[in-house]
Amino acid sequence: MAPFPLSRAQRPEGAAGGKAKQLPPARTSSRQPCERVAAAPGFRVRVAAVAEGGAGAARLGDTMALRWWWWRWCGAPSRRAPALGSLPRLRPPGPGCRSPPPPAPGAAVCHFTQRSSTFSFPKICNIFWRCSKTASDEKYQDPFQLGRKDLKNLYEDIKKELLVSTVELKEMCDYYFDGKGKAFRPMIVVLMARACNIHHNNSREVQASQRSVAIIAEMIHTASLVHDDVIDDANSRRGKMTVNQIWGERKAVLAGDFILSAASLALARIGNTTIISVLTQVIEDLVRGEFLQLGSKENENERFAHYLEKTFKKTASLIANSCKAVSILGCPDPKVHEIAYQYGKNVGIAFQLIDDVLDFTSCADHLGKPAAADLKLGLATGPVLFACRQFPEMNAMIMRRFSKPGDVERARKYVLQSDGVQQTTYLAQRYCHEATREISKLRPSPEREALIQLTEMVLMRDK
């Protein structure tokens, strides 16, 4: 992966600028490069914005280059020994920020205590930067707050769709709809619905059919989770036992089928054949994605394309197509449908890439499911594929799907020694950037900003 091309103005020059001192104190080992960063002219403006929380909001344009460059120099542990002795003291948002601090800092701090957090410091600065920017332009809103009203009864409504007479079957189907999941997908759907409605006719209301799409998306997702757990013989998810662990595989498969049929029924009731086609595509992609996971490619280049295709089918397709569905319901312009689809697709792929990274960097308790699960299943995800370029001896392990004893541990070590995690994260950032670029084509609205914010949250999540 070639580094992002940097303009002359952004390259580090000369000594530390005075403004750098107002940044949250970094780890001592990385202070100097960051001071150099601060000296770059374009950057100083943004630092000033952070420091003073003032109205000098920078444009989004150079975010990508900056972020990439930032963590290449400051955050990548492979270049300097990570000194994690002290936590960074988080500077509270400046006076310009009228809103409550975003929830992410807490998450970032927790993440910082993990072994190889590579992006905490830039992330924290990023939060304040974004905070100040949005404070000056629009009222800062936590995306989850914006969509909260529409999704308040989401899980209750899903349970109502699962009309089944047998107590046990109902129990199994309701098991994951306990409100403890992230509800990430329905959130995106609802925000996208509003953004499209506003773009079309300035209406901030979410139509009933659009809300149904959010419900259906979450149901399809859950049905696939239940089946995936049987296929992978998993025994814990979201911090509790899986359905197959409690009730057995036979009933678990039936429960998944039932949730799927209920989703299909709800889909039919919307009464729109286009929407049915769009969302049925998801069901097909989910299954094909599982099949892609079964097979493996010999050639290194093919492997990466195969991995991206699998990622799209298994994760991004649901988000992309649900966004597309609500945009169809909200706005007749095909260009808007395409924007929604592209946003969903890029966010979805980024989401999965970060998920694959977390499998290496996070610990099991925090994730809610066992870590290093992908390796144990024989799957070579993003970090592994990147690491393989630095350590060609991993090729043999990939081909035999880490089946020999000790393979999983060795592979894990290689990955953590290489820059696989960073490369994957960088790739995720690029996808997020693309998503932001797409969604910015819609008319401005709090929901559009929230969707942009969501791409940040995808990158910064730790479980």
């Binding site: 047998t166 057995g248 498969v253 039936l254 889909l267 049915i276 299954v287």
Partner: protein
């Protein structure tokens, strides 16, 4: 099953993988074998019935401008629906063949094989279902999607009841009467065909009345079919070796209803003998001695006549005659 589906990469991938299961005890192997070798059970009866009833109902009378390609008196959408019905039926045959990992014993073979078999079963079943959903969406008819989705939901509930019973300890039966039995069998055996027949009528825009008649035919014919197959162990003349039968089959359930639960449990225990091994011959004699078998035959014929009554509403044709013949076949006893 649709040729297109059979020739897909995914299914050939599965077929290769399923070969690894040869020599293990995973049920998927039996299911797969049944598709390839056992032509008696592989009649694809459901698809056939959907096609026949589409033909029997004839072209749409409601909308004269209703244009679709009609080949041999059947619209292409109806043909597609027949395929979909078979896909769903097959998907659940496959999904039925999953084993509970927690209940495996060492005599079942290596755990790895069973896990692998489960994985293949879930994947292939899902693949077939996904194909069914995609084809359903292509029909561009929301009412049909609603009908078939609800049929899938019914099927799941029906199979769930099947499962619950077979996992009972000591092969004891549920304390259910025949009416509950009928409800559960409707879900697991009739709902799919009945709703598919109705959906076929909807595709040709036939009236609500015709749709209902098609539903009734599908429902009663498949009930007869289930009763017929349940009765087989009891009506076969020469059987030196008695085949095991389900204690929740129709004759047994009716027998229990006549005899009362306690007496029935006593008979089961007597047949179980010392070693807890069921002597099916003895139990069969006990059931034959009672009124269970004749009752079941009556019930079968009753459903058969209701199916025929529904057929009366369709104009006479070869297709209608064929459908009637199917009813005669499933109500015939030696």
């Amino acid at each position: 099953m649709s040729l297109r589906c059979l020739l897909s990469d995914e299914l050939s991938n599965i077929a290769m993988q399923v070969r690894k299961l040869v020599g293990t005890k995973h049920p998927l192997l039996d299911t797969a074998r049944g598709f390839v070798y056992d032509s008696r059970n592989n009649l694809q009866m459901r698809g056939l019935v959907v096609l026949l009833i589409s033909k029997a109902a004839g072209p749409s009378t409601a909308e004269l401008s209703f244009q679709h390609n009609m080949v041999s008196g059947i619209y292409s959408s109806q043909r597609s629906l027949a395929e979909i019905t078979e896909l769903i039926h097959t998907a659940f045959l496959v999904h039925r063949g999953i084993v509970n990992i927690g209940e495996l014993k060492s005599c079942d073979g290596p755990l790895k094989d069973m896990q692998f078999g489960n994985k293949m079963a879930v994947l292939s079943g899902d693949f077939l279902l996904a194909n069914a959903c995609t084809s359903l969406a292509q029909l561009q008819n929301t009412k049909v999607v609603e009908l078939i989705s609800s049929a899938i939901g019914d099927l799941v509930q029906g199979i769930y009841y099947e499962n619950s019973k077979s996992s009972e300890e000591n092969c004891l039966t549920d304390d259910i009467g025949i009416s509950t039995w009928k409800e559960q069998v409707f879900l697991s055996h009739s709902a799919l065909l009945a709703k598919s027949c109705q959906a076929a009528m909807e595709l040709a825009k036939h009236s609500a009345e015709i749709q209902d008649m098609a539903f009734q035919y599908g429902k009663h014919m498949s009930m007869s079919h289930k009763l017929h197959s349940d009765l087989q162990p009891f009506v076969k003349e020469s059987s030196s070796d008695t085949v095991a039968f389900s204690l929740n089959s129709a004759p047994a359930v009716l027998h229990q209803e006549f005899l009362g639960r306690e007496a029935w449990i006593k008979q089961i225990k007597e047949a179980q003998g010392k070693g807890n091994i069921m002597d099916y011959k003895k139990l069969q004699e006990a059931i034959k001695a009672g009124k269970g078998v004749t009752s079941a035959i009556d019930l079968c014929r009753c459903h058969g006549s209701r199916a025929l009554a529904a057929l009366e509403r369709f104009p006479p044709s070869e297709a209608r005659a064929a459908l009637a013949n199917i009813v005669y076949a499933v109500t015939r006893f030696p």
